[in-house]
Point group: C2
């Protein structure tokens, strides 16, 4: 186990959820230096306050051992399958105003397939725990179709619509990802212990919370942002008047992901939230899977029978803007690229490695150029 | 029976549905002169063509006798309860392009209450003949609420949602108006003979077709425009993929009436049309009667508990524009009023008598002035 890996694990355990200043510190000095600074409380005040209560907890070895024994791993920005381009969507948010507006520091993952691959084409299917028979049935129909078309189904692993979505994806032989609001060593809810094992077997069970973390209300809200971030669109199948699904939908909108909601009988309390979202323009009405594919699919993939896949498919809007701003020939520097793309320079800096990894850009001594 | 009344009856029987040039001719020379011209074929070609086949049918006496024996009457622009302000909405449409874009020449009515009073606050509730149990149930809920709040329910008298809407209005002790695509002497559909009698008893059964006219496909489409015109909003409860309710909704949009649709299970064929209208922005989603009242009610009447009624409530948009364009003191002529209101001079000419009737304007030797 490398010292760097242990530093990531330590920081994840201390941060316990979204913590923008810590993400920034790690970006600036690397995880080991950041871990040293947190341990020694040699920190700016904002970060000191956020880490003070937990910086003494050094369970990195135990946590990494635990995730290893579960057959899982700690996924960090060091890793090739870190879903960097999915998390670029957080760049536009102001994490000083709201804690959850930060990308995760690292992710604890059960499941062998690379997360980037799993979430390459993904739809979040979420909804109330108090699902009706109608809601479970309709979830099955949508997911069966979507899984059959190769879409991964992301959800929260909860009872009700979430569980129905995961189960239908597994039944269709599709991939599915559960994002938890507790450590992945915890089976929550307990009744889904076996389902979560099956999800890990065919897809992934993911959490930004270190092993041992118990579920808590604010963690569900933070978790919802990752459900939205890891998908191309969010489909709410059923939501009551106060369903958490609406929170996931709000995150989706903030992260630039389309939101859809399935209507149901107006006599059903489980559809009240969906109807409200549709009426108020927060969600598009989805009555069949093609409606989802139409807005979730990259340009040219919508409709019934798919279409040619373009090189920019799957890129975040910002990365696509950066790519489009590159001249047809010659190379340009970072400041020019920020100016011509209209994307902030820090985001351009974040997008370029992603584009490079995708084989779309290259760099030389003077700047960045377009490939192919 | 006056000669003028007989002329109206004759013209209605000859026109057999929307006929803009005949409406214009009557406006210009009056019904008796128009009837003489039609009989003698002393007409411009457009009108000659439209009346040639039927100008020999002079059943006016018999038709007026028939409507009298049924306890009904022929309602014309001569009458005080002619719903002039409802029909002003046709002013903006181009009746040369499309026959149905004309107001009715006259209306045959069963029922004693003045039509203007009946349609003062009215919602059209329409939908598929192939209604589901859900659709009939939901129709009952909406209509019970709307009738309880004093809204008249306008519909087409058909099986399915229409019938459920009329029945629920009657059951709630509310007023209801059925607009037929055949003569009001015909009970169509036959199974609704008794229902139509009850509607006439508490509200009105209305048609622009003279007694004896049989239903035909194009008459249903023409009828739909009157359903929309006589209401403040159109609510589609259930509509299949090819439901005629969508045609009523299209008329509503063209006439400036808001359209709402009730969602239902996505597994139900009877809700496909509603979902499509909502998804494509042709209809607002309605899950309860308050949603309807919110958009149908005049300014200040929306919401749960109503509010003060303003003098302009119930006026067409054009009439309101004309009224607003009148100076606070002094009078102005027709051309100035057209210019300052932005409303075409012919429409201003149509709106002024309505405003006068409502006690909102008066005229003197030099022009029109604002009252109160």
């Amino acid at each position: 186990m490398s010292a760097r890996r242990a530093a990531w694990a330590y920081l994840s355990q201390v941060a316990q959820g979204p913590c923008a200043p810590l993400v920034e510190l790690v970006e600036a000095v690397g995880p080991e230096e950041a871990a040293r600074a947190v341990r020694g409380a040699a920190l700016p005040e904002a970060l000191s306050t956020r880490t003070q209560a937990r910086r003494h907890i050094d369970s990195a070895d135990r946590d990494l051992d635990m995730i290893g024994r579960l057959g899982g791993r700690l996924l960090t920005p060091d890793d090739e399958d870190w879903p960097a381009w999915r998390l670029l969507a957080f760049d536009g948010l102001d994490s000083r105003r709201e804690r959850e507006s930060a990308p995760p520091l690292a992710l604890w993952v059960l499941g062998e397939r690379p997360l980037t691959e799993l979430t390459e084409r993904a739809v979040a299917v979420v909804g109330t725990r108090a699902a009706s028979g109608y809601g479970e049935h309709v979830t099955g129909q949508f997911v069966d179709d979507l899984a059959g078309r190769g879409w991964t189904v992301v959800s929260g692993g909860a009872y009700g619509i979430d569980g129905a979505a995961h189960r239908a994806a597994l039944a269709a032989g599709g991939a599915t990802v559960a994002v938890l609001a507790c450590g992945v060593d915890r089976a929550y809810p307990a009744g889904h212990a076996r389902l979560l094992r099956e999800i890990a077997g065919e897809g992934a069970v993911v959490s930004e919370y270190a092993p041992g973390t118990t579920p808590a209300r604010h963690r569900f809200l933070a978790r919802n942002r990752l459900v939205a971030a890891l998908a191309d669109a969010v489909l709410v199948v059923e939501a009551g008047a106060r369903s958490g699904a609406r929170n996931t939908a709000t995150w989706a909108s903030r992260l630039g992901r389309p939101v859809l909601a399935v209507p149901g009988p107006v006599t059903s309390a489980s559809s009240v939230g969906c109807h409200r979202m549709i009426r108020e323009g927060e969600a598009l009405l989805a009555s069949r899977s093609a409606d989802v594919v139409e807005v979730a699919g990259p340009v040219g993939v919508g409709g019934e029978d798919g279409g040619p896949v373009r090189p920019l498919d799957g890129l975040s809007a910002k990365a696509a803007l950066v790519y489009e701003a590159l001249p047809a020939s010659g190379s340009v520097g970072l400041p020019e690229l920020a100016e011509s793309s209209g994307v902030p320079v820090e985001s351009v800096r974040g997008a370029l490695p992603v584009l490079e990894l995708a084989g779309l850009v290259g760099s030389d001594g003077t700047g960045w150029f377009r490939r192919g």
